[in-house]
Assembly symmetry: C2
Homo-oligomer: 240 residues x 2
């Protein structure tokens, strides 16, 4: 939290959550907020914009800024906009996550991976398969591919803890975005073996390419969940 508008957004967010600004009422108008916070209106507007992207309020010309009912997705349904990785996400919820490394290899990328990670055929990659175990129960199988040169000195130890922490804290990398697809699939061998499911259990698969701030792709991964253990959620706001 550094900039003025971020601080103001936090303050207002707090007031919404604790009921100072009740659901369905209007926020004080922007000129009043200018007076209260002693900043320019552009700054106030930017703060409100953040809250709008979070789905907490909705502004409309001529009408004001309304506090929306957020209780809906306020619970454990965390949006997917997190590049903290599972470990961190679960830690926040005080849930115990273990990772068991099923495969940890080095190899060369096939055509598909070359295209997705913008690699040449001779650039080596890590090929990783991990089983993530939540509260003692098999939760998800993650197939991960990363270019070796971007992620030096990867070890089994890191894989068993948190790769993201290593990338962020250890290597100082900054994530900039992700491209994801969702599909359903039949269970395959690995799924049946490690997720304790059978042929008829559907699998929810999420594929993602993760990008660094400068646009370099750093990871391609497939996460396969048993159909009854997880769903993903998205809040989509039209800012136009």
């Amino acid at each position: 939290m550094q900039t003025k508008y971020e601080k103001i957004a936090s303050t207002i967010r707090e007031r919404i959550k604790n009921g100072t600004y009740p659901v369905d009422s209007l926020l004080p108008n922007q000129t009043d907020l200018v007076l209260e916070f002693g900043v320019s209106r552009m700054t106030i507007k930017k703060a409100i914009e953040i809250l709008m992207m979070e789905g907490l309020v909705y502004s409309q010309r001529g009408m004001g800024t309304k506090i929306l009912d957020h209780s809906f997705w306020d619970k454990d349904v965390s949006p997917i906009k997190e590049y903290d990785g599972l470990s961190y996400q679960m830690e926040k919820q005080n849930k115990k996550l273990e990772s068991s490394v099923i495969k940890f290899d080095v190899g060369f990328p096939n055509k598909e991976i070359q295209k997705k990670l913008l690699l040449k055929a001779e650039q080596p990659i890590y090929q990783i398969i991990r089983l993530r175990i939540l509260e003692g129960k098999p939760f998800v199988i993650e197939h991960t591919i990363m270019p070796c040169d971007l992620v030096p000195n990867l070890t089994t130890d890191i894989l068993e803890k948190s790769v993201y922490t290593y990338l962020k804290k250890g290597l100082g990398l900054q994530f900039g975005g992700a491209y994801r697809t969702f599909q359903a699939d039949r269970a395959e061998e690995h799924d049946k073996k490690y997720l304790e499911c059978d042929d008829s259990d559907p699998i929810l698969e999420v594929q993602q390419v993760i990008y660094l701030k400068d646009g370099t792709p750093i990871e391609f991964s497939k996460s396969r969940n048993r159909y009854d253990t997880r769903s993903y959620s998205i809040l989509d706001v039209d800012y136009s």
Copy 2:
């Protein structure tokens, strides 16, 4: 296209797509763009912000604004940020979409629906089930619930064409956002009957609540696809 920054964003977007600004090169710096377009820098910045949200460029302090490789998701993988409905989406791609109405009823909302659409128990709702048929093949089953008072005079005829067109053009409603969840599921009776699949075929289910601009929920729906007919994709950019 109304505001200056939207026009400028379109111009720059066009230059990126036709190669005037090649992938991996840098955009002219913001002060140069100020001179070219004869606007203030804040306006240029806002234009670039739009392109950043679209994943076309990435800006960084001290470095400039880099054109990213967008060829990846430039094709038919349209982001889900469209409230045009399936009909319109398919029309753009010149694909033929038919809709067959399986159920069209009125009733009262159960507890779950009351909560999701913010309704009282005695507010009537439409209960609709439609089979959407793409290019002659069963594509998706949509279960839709809408409050009657917000959508007057709904007819079978409208359901067979495009509900969204009716809401937008006919009723003048404006969409503001959506909340979606994705999960996999086993095939149930309707799926087997209409999607021509059997017990072992997984289903991809997308649930969504759609909101109007002022935050009023107007629709809850479940879309059930055969696992091999559809996937959804999202581009997720970190703007911090």
